[in-house]
Symmetry: C2
Subunit: 182 residues, 2 copies
């Protein structure tokens, strides 16, 4: 039978592993997810070396992983006076993390398609209106229809992203059904 300390450590490890796995959904490696998980359960800001020993990875890997987490704002850097080392704390608000991730992806998706259509659409328009080849004309017209349909999709997702960014979404789905302030 394990002692309490071991049980606590084991329980926390399970949670950290689960968090690491969920973060894979959001496009980071399990290792980076573990870094976040460790920080998530830490009551104190941690240094690179602290984390390095906890996750048993090289300093280089932790450094790279940390940059990734900083870029996505899942982790922030803090100063601890009297210590030369950088320290890091996890952004523990899952909802905040989720929303900012989501918004970023949605906008990225849209940009990719918009950039392509900006190039393609004028050419298709030209063929669809001016071509003397019936066949080509028809094909171009169909492609244009698809592009136009996709615009209405992006309109929708952008509205969702905007509602998420502004917080308007919480009018539709309230943040905390019963208790608590923001």
């Amino acid at each position: 039978m394990k002692n309490e300390e071991e049980i606590l450590a084991h329980s926390r490890d399970m949670m950290i592993s689960a968090i690491a796995q969920t973060m894979v959904i959001y496009g980071v490696t399990p290792s980076v997810g573990r870094i976040y998980g460790v920080l998530y359960f830490s009551t104190e800001p941690m240094s690179l070396d602290d984390i390095k020993t906890q996750v048993a990875m090289s300093k280089a890997s932790v450094s790279n992983g940390m940059r990734e987490l900083l870029e996505t704002e899942m982790v922030i850097k803090v100063w601890k006076k009297g210590d030369r080392k950088d320290h890091y704390v996890a952004e523990k608000d899952f909802l905040k993390n989720f929303l900012s991730f989501f918004i970023k992806k949605i906008r990225h998706e849209r940009n990719l398609i918009i950039k392509a259509t900006e190039q393609a659409q004028p050419n298709l328009e030209k063929i669809a209106t001016n071509s003397e080849d019936k066949q080509l004309k028809e094909e171009a017209r169909k492609d244009l229809d698809l592009i136009k349909e996709s615009y209405s999709y992006f309109e929708w997702t952008m509205q969702l992203a905007n509602a998420m960014e502004s917080g308007e979404i919480f009018n539709f789905i309230p943040k905390n059904p019963e208790k608590k302030e923001e």
Copy 2:
């Protein structure tokens, strides 16, 4: 100066590439994304061999990619009478694809955490209430607080997923601002 046929092909390739890139966001390889892109712009159902030549990949790769697309319901299989080959058509409704992908991921995320907390929570509760070690007791209590906070997050995301599944979300963000039936 290119002729119209080349311009059309080039325009479509650009769109297909863009679609393939966006699908990377949703966790498939660019190759699989290209398969979908090709199907997306095809007016006719296509066979494995049709696609194979269009995307210049091995039959095995197309077959694997197709399974992936079928599993996520981004592509459906159709029968074409008089032809032994299977044929495939793309689900062209981006919004539908997006929503079903999203719902799946959100539920998956929740399941991962719930499964871990089901194991961890009882142990933590025990320590948090019964332990004689003040230090451990406090740590367990803090971990439990984090877990409880995460539940409110999942409550929120599940509500969002449910609203997406039921279509209720369209009361908040209408599908087509001006025109068209479903």
